[in-house]
C-alpha cells in the first residue's frame, strides 16, 4: 500500500493530454540525456573500482580491514548533501585535491557533467561493493579449490570459476548502484550545481519544476518511475535472488 499510494498520486495528477508536448521539450530531453549518461557511467565506474575493492575486503585479511569496510560503506549512511559538501571541500576548485587536479589537467569537477558522475559514483559504489563482497564471502569455496587442485592458475580460477559463480550478485550490484545513481539529488546539486543541459539530471529537473510548473514535474517523475520499472522487470526472477 505504501508503495502504491505515491504511484497512484502521480498517475492521478498526470497531464495526459499535454504529456507528449512536455516530454519532447528540451528541459526533459536534456535531463534524460544527462541522467542516462551519468547514471550509467557511475555504475560502470563503480564496477571497475568496486569489484577489486570487494575482492580485497572479502578475501584479503589486512590490518584495518574493518575500518576500510566502514569507510567504504559511509556514503550509504551519510546524508547525500553532506556527501556533496564533503566532495566540494576535497575536489572543489579550492579543495585540496581539486586545486591540484585543476592545476595538472585543467579539469574542474564542480559545475561540469564529470562532477555529476563523481557525485553519483560516490553514493552508488557502496551498493556494488556490499553486494559483491557478500557474494564472495558466502560462495562455496570448494569449487575454487577443486579448480586449483586440477591445475588451474589463480587468474583462471577467477575468470572461469569465481566470477561466473557470483555473476548474479554482480548484476544485482550493478543494478542497485545504477538505480541509486539515477535517483541521486543532494550530492549532485551540492557538488555539481544545477544547469540545464550540463548538470541538471532528472531529479534536479523535478525539484526545479515543482515550484513553477507542476505538470512538468509530474511528467518527469512519471518518466523516472517508468524507467525504473522497466529495468527492474528486465532483471527477471533469476537475478532477483541475488538482490
Amino acid at each position: 500500500m505504501l508503495f502504491l499510494l505515491p504511484l497512484a498520486g502521480l498517475l492521478v495528477r498526470t497531464p495526459w493530454a499535454r504529456l507528449p508536448l512536455i516530454l519532447s521539450g528540451d528541459v526533459v530531453t536534456d535531463a534524460i540525456r544527462i541522467s542516462a549518461v551519468t547514471s550509467v557511467s557511475a555504475a560502470v565506474i563503480s564496477l571497475v573500482l568496486g569489484l577489486p575493492l570487494a575482492w580485497l575486503l572479502a578475501r584479503v585479511d589486512f590490518p584495518g580491514r574493518a575500518l576500510a569496510r566502514a569507510v567504504v560503506t559511509l556514503p550509504l549512511v551519510l546524508p547525500p548533501v553532506v556527501g556533496g559538501a564533503a566532495l566540494l571541500f576535497a575536489l572543489g576548485r579550492r579543495g585540496f585535491a581539486g586545486a591540484a587536479l585543476e592545476h595538472a589537467t585543467g579539469l574542474l569537477l564542480p559545475f561540469s557533467i564529470w562532477g555529476v558522475v563523481v557525485a553519483n559514483t560516490f553514493v552508488a559504489m557502496p551498493f556494488l561493493v556490499i553486494t559483491v563482497e557478500g557474494a564472495l564471502r558466502n560462495m562455496d569455496r570448494r569449487y575454487e579449490d577443486a579448480a586449483a587442485s586440477l591445475g588451474a592458475r589463480p587468474w583462471t580460477v577467477l575468470l572461469r570459476v569465481t566470477l561466473p559463480m557470483i555473476a548474479p550478485s554482480i548484476v544485482a550490484g550493478l543494478v542497485l548502484s545504477w538505480a541509486r545513481a539515477f535517483g541521486e539529488f543532494g550530492a549532485t546539486i551540492t557538488f555539481a550545481g544545477n544547469l540545464q543541459g550540463r548538470t541538471q539530471t532528472l531529479p534536479l529537473a523535478v525539484f526545479v519544476a515543482l515550484e513553477s510548473d507542476r505538470d512538468t514535474a509530474v511528467a518527469i517523475s512519471l518518466v523516472m518511475v517508468l524507467v525504473s520499472l522497466v529495468v527492474l522487470l528486465a532483471l527477471r526472477d533469476r537475478w532477483w535472488k541475488a538482490l
Binding site: 564542480p110 538505480a179 539529488f185 525539484f207 515543482l210 518511475v225 525504473s228
Partner: protein, 281 residues
C-alpha cells in the same frame, strides 16, 4: 525510488493510525482546553497597546521565511521569545517559491515572510492570507564575489564571460528572478554555470571560491562578515526587493502570529532588520 530525496511539504505524522481512539479523544480534549486557555488570555490582552505587552500569548509558532532572512529572523526569533516567553517560534527557511508551494499544499504555517510580493500574491489569491500582507523590509541586489575578488570582477558585464564561473539563484526564486531582471536592464546575457535552489546555497559556493561571482542581496553579503565581498550595481539597473509578511488563514496559532507580525513591524523589529542590512519599507 532508492536514494531520491523527496521535498517534504511539512506534513505532520497523523495520530489516527497509531493511537487508540480513547487516547486520541483524551489528547484532543486536552489540546482544546490548553488552546482555549491561551485564547482567553490573549483576547483580554488585545486591548492593550503595542506588541511588547502580550506576555501571555503562547504556544508553537511556525514562521516560513525566505532564505535571505536567515540571520535577521534568527535574531528576531530570540528577541520575540524574550518579550513573549510562552511562545516557541520555529523558523522554516527556504526559497520563497518552495515556501509558497508548501503553504498552498496545506502546511500548517502561521506566518509567511516572502522575499517578493508575487509569491505572497499567489498565496493571497488562493485565499490563504488572513487580513492584508504588510511590506516590512526592502533589499537590494549586489554582485557577490569571494573575498579578495580573485577573478577581478568589475561589473555586470563580466557576467557574460564564459571563462568565468558565474552562478545565479534559480529563476523561480525571487533572488534569481530579480537578478535576471537587473541583467536584462543592463543588456547583459549571462554565461551561467549553475542555478542554485536558494540564495544561501549560492552564497556558500561563492564563499568557498567555487564560483567567481554571483548576484545576491546586500544583506547576504553583509552576513558573511568579510568572506564575501560586494560590488554595487548601478541604481538604474538594480532591482529593489520588497518583503511582505502576513498571518495565514487557518493558522493554528493566530494570536501569536499577529503578535509576531506586529513585532516585526515595530521599532525593535525594524532595528533588528536594519542591523542586518535591510532597508526600511
Amino acid at each position: 525510488m532508492p536514494g531520491a530525496e523527496s521535498s517534504d511539504p511539512g506534513a505532520y505524522p497523523g495520530l489516527e493510525e497509531s493511537v487508540p481512539w480513547r487516547w486520541q479523544a483524551g489528547i484532543t480534549a486536552l489540546a482544546l482546553i490548553v488552546a482555549d486557555c491561551g485564547g482567553r488570555t490573549a483576547a483580554d490582552d488585545r486591548s492593550a497597546a503595542g506588541p511588547g505587552s502580550q506576555p501571555d500569548v503562547g504556544g508553537q509558532l511556525l514562521v516560513s521565511a525566505a532564505a535571505s532572512l536567515t540571520d535577521a529572523f534568527a535574531a528576531m526569533d530570540s528577541a520575540f521569545e524574550a518579550t513573549h516567553p510562552k511562545v516557541d517560534v520555529a523558523l522554516n527557511l527556504g526559497g520563497s517559491s518552495s515556501l509558497r508551494a508548501q503553504i498552498l499544499g496545506g502546511a500548517p504555517v502561521d506566518v509567511f515572510a516572502s522575499a517578493n510580493p508575487s509569491n505572497m500574491d499567489r498565496v493571497a489569491r488562493a485565499g490563504r492570507v488572513s487580513g492584508e500582507p504588510h511590506v516590512f523590509a526592502r533589499n537590494r541586489l549586489q554582485i557577490a564575489v569571494p573575498a579578495g575578488n580573485p577573478a577581478h570582477i568589475h561589473d555586470l558585464h563580466d557576467f557574460s564571460d564564459p571563462r568565468l564561473r558565474i552562478g545565479l539563484c534559480a529563476a523561480e526564486v525571487p533572488c534569481g528572478d530579480f537578478a535576471r531582471k537587473a541583467l536584462d536592464r543592463a543588456g547583459v546575457v549571462p554565461s551561467l554555470d549553475t542555478n542554485e535552489p536558494d540564495v544561501r546555497a549560492l552564497l556558500t559556493k561563492i564563499e568557498l571560491g567555487e564560483l567567481d561571482a554571483g548576484m545576491t542581496y546586500v544583506t547576504d553579503v553583509v552576513s558573511t562578515r568579510g568572506s564575501v565581498q560586494g560590488i554595487d550595481i548601478p541604481a538604474d539597473v538594480n532591482v529593489v526587493a520588497e518583503y511582505p509578511i502576513a498571518v495565514l488563514a487557518g493558522s493554528p496559532n493566530p494570536d501569536a502570529a499577529h503578535a509576531f507580525v506586529a513585532f516585526v513591524l515595530s521599532g525593535p523589529g525594524q532595528a533588528i532588520l536594519a542591523k542586518y542590512g535591510f532597508e526600511s519599507p
